[in-house]
Subunit: 336 residues, 2 copies
């Protein structure tokens, strides 16, 4: 007597036990109008058996039959999500669920381009949201051809326009612009900007840098650029370099974490912050209020996840291309 591994109950199991057809079971469990005149006694019996068997409909089989797609695939960047992104993702997930879609996060994808696209397409999602580092024109084309909407996170909306690729971006240039303007308003004319070397972050860093440069150009200020790794040693190296070439007046540290590392290195070097050097981060995470002096930052306010979800769903159902930029930057001045 070998114990068999449990198997999920099927509609057929229920039909057999209840002595009715599978059609009847389906009608009863779905409260379908076509089965409206099935006697209450039968209905009760079917329901009782379904319950007893722990029956749960097979989502795959159902969607295979109905042809419905309710999956939205979210393919991560390979980086740690900050509280901002996490918070948005939660709201977005919930909002999508309310609209009848299921968002699944698909992490640690090792492929890109057509290979990645094929693995996503196999799941027949209604849409895929992926970092632009995973997308290639051929991959996007494959998905679109299969009726799967594609959202590039970070892709350039101008370049995407007309290709069918939708975009969902954080406007990094705008963040840099806000930070740069805030530093310039304080009278600084000699600015330094940090750009992460880590590839997925680098693109964003360059966008932010561009914004600072734009702000600087408005008043004829200068901008120095430094590559930085996410490590105390790299921060110390930059501060040491400033010791040689002269300290900048204002520093934009890419984000709060990089800025936090820089702040530590500046304090270690005995630099007066903000007396000698003004410092800004971005994202406005709680970290800003842990550091002393407290860190100035650029808060990124997001449009309601519900609204974004609605527009994503509209794009899915209408098969149209949309370009969403749910974030807007606001400087927050603190002690640095």
């Amino acid at each position: 007597m070998t114990s068999i591994r449990p198997r999920p109950a099927t509609i057929t199991d229920i039909a057999r036990q209840a002595g009715v057809s599978t059609a009847t079971v389906s009608y009863v469990l779905n409260d379908a109008p076509a089965g409206a005149r099935i006697p209450e006694e039968t209905r009760a019996r079917v329901r009782a058996i379904a319950d007893e068997l722990g029956y749960v409909p097979h989502a795959n089989a159902r969607s295979l039959r109905t042809g419905s797609r309710d999956l939205v695939l979210y393919v991560h960047f390979d980086v740690v999500h900050g509280p901002l992104a996490t918070g948005f993702l939660y709201g977005f997930t919930r909002a999508l669920r309310d609209l009848g879609y299921t968002l699944m996060q698909y992490g640690a994808e090792r492929h890109r381009g057509v290979k990645a696209a094929r693995s996503w397409a196999a799941l027949r999602p209604a849409a895929v949201i992926a970092g632009d580092d995973r997308l290639t024109p051929a991959g996007v084309a494959l998905l679109l051809k299969a009726g799967i909407r594609v959202f590039g996170m970070g892709s350039d909306p101008a370049a995407a326009k007309g290709t069918g690729l939708s975009t969902l971006i954080m406007d990094h240039r705008a963040i840099g612009l806000a930070a740069g303007r805030d530093l310039l308003e304080r009278g600084y004319r000699d600015l330094a900007v940090v750009v992460p070397v880590d590839p997925p972050l680098r693109v964003m860093g360059e966008g932010r840098l561009e914004g600072v440069r734009e702000a600087a150009a408005e008043v004829g200020a200068s901008v120095r650029v430094h590559e930085m790794e996410y490590s105390p040693g790299s921060a110390a190296g930059i501060v040491a370099a400033w010791g040689e070439e002269g300290l900048p007046e204002g520093v934009f540290g890419y984000n709060d974490e990089f800025a936090g590392l820089l702040l530590g290195a500046l304090l270690d070097a005995g630099v007066d912050v903000p007396g000698r050097v003004g410092l800004m981060g971005a994202d406005d995470v709680m970290l800003c209020r842990m550091l002393r002096p407290t860190l100035s930052s650029v808060r990124v306010e997001s449009e309601s996840p519900e609204e974004i979800a609605r527009r994503v769903v509209a794009s899915i159902t209408e098969g149209t291309e949309v370009h969403l930029s749910p974030w807007s930057p606001v400087p927050v001045r603190r002690q640095t």
Copy 2:
């Protein structure tokens, strides 16, 4: 002339265009032994058409037919994942993929117990990994009955033993024990511990507290407990209370973030850290090295994600209950 929404190509489309049966297409595309003797010419034609059509097999249809389950559902806690958890999750995802399974993250689940279990069961995963705040005995039973393995994150292994529920836990008691012992080694006998009020964090906080208490009991030290929210105000409140009742000698701040908030509040109050008060966080994230003075912490080293993945898969294929605790704590002493 209405443009029809693109539809994914099916095996039937290919068969029609190639003038062969769907069986032939299937054999060719899968390099099945049964189709080994299909002439190269036909094979090439089928492959070319599949390629041209952008054909990708329908994963659902395939698994429906073969009965295979390769999905592992990971249901988040509703909190921001730190770098530690994120890093583990990435490695774990990759390792599972190498073993033929796909890990999907399912966030912002609004249900718990049987309701949640039903929504997971509908996806027919091979296993579900969920926070114990989402699991109830009835829910677990439903899943097990359907042949779906269940891993409770944070569930008590002792309580689970024999019920079929597997566990995957971080040993919070051990973290508190390590922190407590480190503080006591420095000679502190008047300890304070912070416990977050936020429900999902509270459980972990209580586990860590228990560990500190255990350490304190070994040498007869005292332990004060303070509830804390994740806000600068709450930290300031606690420090103010210490002003009234007297400062503790050593503080365990639950984790680095809560400790960082406390550090800021202590410095604001003019308290000498670590001269007057020693402070420890936990998790050892980069934040520790941004703060000045740099924060002592408890690093949590995880067993290799590959090894954990192997054991999870073994549990799935053999249908056995396992209890994994892939983390071990190591104190890291810095300036605080």
